[in-house]
């Protein structure tokens, strides 16, 4: 009876929303960056599944339904882009140049580091879009022959790292204005970084959201051109 409950979408959805809600309460109470709700939820759910010996496939029945919503969420990014077109025009040069240079930096450093340190070809392809939002990264990796679910997981870990350490790192290296920090956070750490940036500064968060979409389009175009020719 328990098995049939676990093998329905109800299980994965309830577990995800429940653990995430708990993680948000914890984060709200202590406000410590290490208690990032996404990182905490992922760790908590993995431990729960391992402890009760529940296969990932059972969790994914519900998890995939939540993951599906990332598709329309990417489309929805058009709304803040359209709403803030005036601001975007004001900062168009730093946005485009920042995102472009960061996007290229991400592809080049991520793939070359894995390659130099002896990672497999599949792994090189799977880290290529690591700074892009998950649904775009999945699309990219599927088209160039990497492991899409692994790429998605790497993308999420990148986002958690950026969200946890990003603003502090930026201040240490002298990137203190919210405009530059926001563009950097969205380019490096996509949606999870943007969620964190929105807490730091509203305009920075908006620009971070814009950088997700721009970097997504740019990286998709660059990777498919590059690996399309040389892959």
């Amino acid at each position: 009876m328990i098995d049939s409950l676990v093998d329905s979408p109800l299980f994965g959805i309830t577990l995800t929303l429940g653990v995430y809600t708990l993680a948000q309460v914890l984060y709200g109470r202590f406000r410590h960056v290490l208690l990032n709700p996404v990182a905490l939820s992922i760790g908590g759910i993995i431990l729960f599944l391992l402890a009760l010996d529940i296969p990932f496939q059972s969790y994914a029945l519900g998890g995939d339904l939540i993951l599906f919503l990332l598709g329309p969420a990417v489309v929805a990014l058009a709304v803040p882009l359209y709403e803030r077109r005036q601001e975007i025009l004001k900062y168009k040069l730093p946005i485009v140049a920042g995102v472009a240079s960061g996007g290229i930096t991400s592809i080049v450093t991520a793939t070359s580091l894995v390659w130099i340190l002896g990672g497999s070809r599949e792994l090189v392809l799977s880290v290529a879009p690591k700074s892009v939002t998950a649904p775009i990264a999945i699309g990219i990796v599927e088209s160039i022959g990497g492991i899409a679910p692994l790429a998605a997981a790497i993308v999420v870990l990148t986002g958690c790292l950026g969200a946890v350490c990003g603003p502090e790192f930026c201040r240490r290296v002298g990137i203190v204005d919210p405009v530059s920090m926001g563009i950097a956070m969205g380019t490096a750490a996509h949606g999870i970084g943007t969620a964190r940036m929105l807490e730091v500064d509203r305009l920075g968060g908006a620009l971070s959201g814009l950088a997700i979409g721009l970097n997504g389009m740019l990286t998709a175009a660059m990777i498919s051109l590059f690996f399309g020719f040389f892959g």
């Binding site: 990417v74 140049a97 792994l123 880290v127 290296v173």
Partner: protein, 118 residues
């Protein structure tokens, strides 16, 4: 709200269709985003029609990543054998991107003296 979701899903569907028919190697969801942007710009879709649904998805964006992150447990063996390249690329590359993007943006930004404290 339902109309908003219908518009978002329709854009996604059209995006996937266009990408497949034209053989463009761009994700369908990005094509869908561009379509919605054009539709808003041309007045085919009013902002008010999609705003509520879009905000619901975007304000809970972080939650939507959780299942993808849990997927890492399936690849624990790959991660065990290749943890060094993965970790190095994850950490160093992320900081490199923050540094390059932030510095380039800062250099090119129109002057204004604000700074942000957490």
């Amino acid at each position: 709200m339902v109309r908003g979701f219908a518009i978002l899903l329709l854009c996604l569907l059209l995006g996937e269709l266009i990408v497949r028919f034209c053989g463009i190697s761009l994700p369908g969801n990005v094509a869908g985003m561009v379509l919605l942007l054009f539709a808003l710009r041309l007045g085919l879709v009013q902002l008010g029609q999609v705003k509520e649904a879009a905000n619901l998805l975007l304000s809970n964006l972080a939650l939507l990543f959780v299942p993808a992150g849990v997927g890492v447990m399936v690849y624990l063996d790959i991660i065990q054998t290749s943890w060094l390249p993965i970790l190095a690329s994850l950490v160093l590359s992320t900081f490199a991107v923050l540094l390059v993007t932030g510095k380039v943006a800062q250099r090119l930004k129109p002057k204004s003296g604000e700074s942000c404290d957490d």
